[in-house]
């Protein structure tokens, strides 16, 4: 069988168009009932693919995409917040270190001052005690000297009396004591 006869066959069998069609459109097989049937078939395909397949699948896909997008955004925010907190913490630590340093400096300064003051006060106190002691010692010494002098005078008189008792009468004795007392 050669090609021209094949072509002839094709045109011949083309005449077996479905009933209810006529003319060129009929030759091409167009038939409104079949057209509607195919339209319904394809309509159902669209409906099923849309409602049962694409809606859930693409919906899940989109939901996941949006969720991932949000998560990434949120992660960025959290990272930023974390960095902020870290920076704040660092700042606070730095500030507290400075404050602590300042406190230590101030405390040591105050300690030094207090120490100096205490030493000064102690020195003054000791000087005062020393001078008082000196004064007391001086007066004690004065008093002791006086007592010694009296004691010595009494002793001397006693000795002199013992020596002179025999030679002096009552009168002379009284005079001598008087003179003695005067010279003391």
């Amino acid at each position: 069988m050669n090609f021209p006869s094949l072509v002839f066959l094709a045109t011949e069998v083309a005449e077996h168009a479905a009933p209810g069609s006529a003319g060129v459109l009929g030759t091409l097989g167009l038939n409104w009932k079949l057209f509607l049937a195919q339209l319904v078939n394809f309509g159902v395909v669209i409906f099923i693919l849309w409602k049962w397949v694409m809606k859930p699948v693409v919906g899940a896909l989109e939901a996941r995409r949006i969720r991932i997008e949000e998560s990434v955004k949120k992660a960025g925010e959290i990272e930023k917040k974390f960095a902020d907190i870290k920076a704040y913490e660092e700042g606070a630590r730095h500030k507290s270190r400075i404050e602590a340093d300042e406190l230590i400096t101030r405390a040591s300064l105050t300690g030094e001052t207090l120490k100096n003051e205490a030493a000064e006060r102690a020195r003054a106190e000791s000087a005062k005690i020393l001078s008082e002691a000196r004064v007391t010692i001086a007066s004690e010494k004065e008093r002791a000297l006086l007592e010694i002098r009296e004691e010595v005078a009494g002793l001397a008189v006693m000795a002199a009396e013992k020596i002179l008792r025999a030679k002096l009468d009552e009168k002379k004795d009284a005079e001598l004591i008087k003179n003695m007392m005067k010279s003391l």
């Binding site: 069998v13 005449e15 097989g29 079949l34 057209f35 339209l39 049962w52 397949v53 899940a60």
Partner: protein
Amino acid sequence: MIFAIPPLAAETIFRIGPILVTNAYINSTIVLALFIALGLVLRKRSGEIPDKIQNFAESIFEVCLGYVDQVTKDRRKSIKFLPIVGSLFFFILISNWIGIFPGIGSIGRYLPIHGEIELVPLFRPANTDLNMTLAMAILGIGATHIFGILAIGFWKYANKFVKLGDIWRSFRKGGMSIFVAFVEFGVGLIEIFSEVAKVVSLSLRLFGNVFAGEVLLTVMASLIAFIIPLPFIFLEILVGFIQALVFSMLVLVFLSIATMEVQTARH
């Protein structure tokens, strides 16, 4: 006769009341059944953590959405158009590829045709029926108009075709703009014809390609049954994919053009 070149029109196998059941219609119903099965498998799968089947479906639609995005440049539009464009693509692809299966075009009934008993194939690729391709083209182009109206409003959309609004505005301006408005009015009328041409070209392109492929395969198989038809079968696999892509991409482009705002001409 040991083989029959398929006729242009799909052959009636039987009828259910007033409904003619042709061999191409049987095939489109088989494809429909496949999609129903797929739908039943996938309808409850929208979990946050996908299982294997959902994962597979998602990976396919992810790729599809990526391609649609390249045309629409807008994810929301892509999601709106995907049901139409995706259905067209997958339906055409699956029906074309099913047409290559052994048994399609060769298993049949002996029916009397023009007084002769001839083998009428029980299955015939769905897209070798002009009714099928025309139905898809009309649905596709009809969808572009519906989406267009929904996107920019009825009056603005109608003004793409019947530019009475432009004429009215031009009278206010006067002068040369009146002439331009009338020319544009004529262009608008041509647009109406181009919409019809879109339907015709879409449906005839697909029908012609798939039908020619079917004829080619029949002829090749009847000349030499072994080895020789194989490259042609591979060719048909490719053609089936390309035609599905061309049809759906064209509808997608028409959809995105229809939903664009019209730039009102400044004269």
